[in-house]
Amino acid sequence: MDEVTMVRIVLSAALFIIPMITYLATEAVFKRIYKIKKFKALFG
């Protein structure tokens, strides 16, 4: 497999992986910061 094909595969996969990582990372971050009382008082 040449370099360009590899890049193509990685980019195609990235189309789907970016939304997934965005989702998982945001869930993790928000779950954590929603536990902070001050944050909850402001935004909860």
């Binding site: 360009v4 890049v7 980019l11 965005t22 929603y34 935004f43």
Partner: protein, 560 residues
């Protein structure tokens, strides 16, 4: 002159009716929808009908003109007025009347604005859109051998999906192939997004918030996405409609899938919204393991594939790749788009040579200028402290010009940022509301967040891309969220008035800057002849004519 002005407005109204009626009559057969939903869905059916009729005319080679639709539309409308209650059970409630009136006012306001606002010269997208619409007017829909047509590189077929151009050239086949017809048609297509915006706001928040959103959307500085010949707000229509139908579950999954498929046919960037809707849903699906939900999703996927398959099959057979767009390679570009000017190998080599600091830095700076009032703050600060943060003139890391405006004035950058486009007070409420939205409605939250993050990563190196050509579709949702946040306050009535007042003041300032920066942009375009980033040949603008020029060149008289 008076005659031309009357003809101009009448043709805009005629286009609106021709676009509205066929789809509306189709939507009447779906009795589970209420009146507002019927009107909302109708534009999906209209686009479908137009594409079907257009393809049928092309391949069956009928002699009759699509203009037969005009008397047919009027006739069916008259019939409908008499039988709507008895046959279809369509209730013309106050809400429906108000919404239709608002739509009419918004559309007419834009049509009027087109006469006074000079067409924006930098960037060549609208030339491409116009020429691609002309391509569908021709009798031979022959695809070029290479997907970049050497004879006519500005025709966007095949490397963009054709759904946006077919309705435009349908109108051009009836009203004439002049540029201003294309402009009215594009404005019409870019205005219908207010209906699903209204439905989403009404479903998840309240009717009042929905109405305020629609009224607010008419007055905020949203000029480029609504007047420029641009597919983006039609994408917004399909994205919001897909999202609404998916959550409301009032129509068959096959129709929801078709809406999504047709949305992708409008512009390939639509898939970000498909993914933004599907990602949280799929994670949920895995958690719940519901069989009925899985079947529902599979049915949607089936209809979706069926709609998009012909286009991708044609591309695959002709060029050996399902999507000849270079969209997939955008992250590899480091200096310029130049659609398809580089081979993947060249791009990859360039990308490897570029420093990671530059690649990441450009995205960080663009994100900051998009999401915060950084440009305005730095500009105001520069009044008191003698500093300029002109990163464009220093060597890498960052190609973006932060405050002083190497290419375009700072005001132009500011009005393509979130605070600039939403106006400052609305921006503050929208951001606070957006953080709270995670706890209130996760689906809507990710429907906004995923496209933004995706655009930042995918081609965030391009100046202004996030709103200008990335995801302008998220703006209406931010307005909804802003009003939702205001509605929770005790002083909400005062605050709503204040938001509108400040928006109008900003709009006045904006229009002054807009006419000012158009002059500068014209200068740049003249200086930069040959730069693919800008209009290749400024003289082309003189040959074409927008509504602004229409009344100078009197071309309307020739057409009549």
């Amino acid at each position: 002159m008076v005659f031309e002005i009357i003809a101009y407005f009448l043709s805009a109204i005629a286009m609106m009716l021709i676009f509205f009626i066929p789809g509306f009559l189709s939507s009447l057969f779906f009795r589970r929808l209420d009146s507002v939903e019927k009107i909302t869905v109708s534009f999906f059916f209209s686009v479908s009908w137009i594409i079907i009729i257009f393809i049928a005319y092309h391949y069956a080679g009928f002699e009759a003109s699509p203009a037969v639709l005009i008397p047919l539309s009027v006739l069916s409308l008259i019939l409908f007025v008499f039988v709507r209650k008895q046959v279809f059970g369509f209730r013309m409630s106050k809400e429906v009347k108000l919404l239709l009136l608002l739509f009419f006012i918004i559309f007419m306001a834009k049509i009027t604005a087109q006469i006074f606002i000079k067409y924006y010269p930098a960037g060549s997208d609208y030339v491409g859109h116009y020429k691609t619409a002309l391509y569908f007017l021709g009798n031979e829909w022959k695809l070029p051998d290479s997907y970049i047509n050497p004879d006519n590189p500005e025709v966007y077929i095949p490397y963009r999906t054709p759904g946006f151009y077919m309705p435009i050239s349908f109108f051009m086949s009836i009203f004439g192939s002049s540029f201003w017809v294309c402009q009215i048609a594009a404005t019409l297509l870019n205005t219908v997004f207010i209906f699903p915006t209204y439905c989403i706001a009404k479903k998840f928040f309240s009717k009042k918030i929905a109405l305020l959103t629609i009224v607010f959307l008419t007055i905020i500085p949203f000029v480029e996405t609504s007047l420029y010949i641009h597919a983006k707000m039609l994408v917004a229509y399909f994205a919001f409609l897909m999202f609404y139908l998916f959550t409301a579950r009032k129509l068959s999954p096959f129709i929801i899938g078709s809406v999504a498929g047709l949305g992708l046919m409008i512009h390939q960037s639509f898939f970000i919204f498909v993914l933004a809707m599907a990602t949280p849903y799929l994670f949920d699906l895995v958690k719940k393991r519901s069989k009925s939900e899985l079947i529902f999703a599979l049915k949607i996927a089936f209809a979706f594939s069926l709609v998009i398959l012909p286009w991708f099959a044609i591309n695959y057979l002709k060029y050996g790749t399902p999507l000849s767009s270079d969209y997939a390679y955008f992250p590899l570009y480091t200096t310029n788009y130049g659609a398809g000017n580089y081979s993947p190998l060249e791009l990859w080599d360039n990308f490897k040579k570029t420093s990671p600091l530059y690649i990441v830095g450009a995205r960080v700076i663009n994100t900051v200028t998009f999401a915060t009032p950084a440009i305005l703050v730095s500009k105001i600060a520069a009044l008191f402290f003698p500093f300029t943060l002109d990163t464009g003139k220093t060597n890498p890391p960052v190609p973006v010009n932060f405050a002083s405006g190497r290419d375009l004035p700072w005001a132009y950058h500011y009005y393509h940022s979130l605070p600039g486009i939403l106006t400052m007070l609305m921006y503050v409420f929208a951001v606070i509301g957006f953080i709270k939205l995670w706890g209130y409605n996760k689906k809507l939250f990710y429907f906004v967040l995923i496209p933004i993050i995706f655009t930042i990563i995918w081609y965030g190196w391009v100046v202004l891309v996030i709103i200008r050509s990335g995801v302008p579709e998220v703006i209406p949702i931010f307005v909804i969220i802003g009003f939702w946040e205001i509605s929770k306050r005790k002083d909400r009535e005062k605050m709503v008035k204040l938001v509108f007042l400040l928006a109008i003041i900003e709009l006045v300032i904006f229009s002054i800057f807009f006419s000012w920066h158009i002059g500068i942009a014209e200068q740049i375009a003249i200086e930069r002849k040959g730069d693919p980033k800008y209009l290749v040949d400024i003289d082309q603008l003189e040959k074409l004519f927008s509504a602004y020029k229409l009344f100078k060149v009197q071309e309307m008289g020739k057409w009549l």
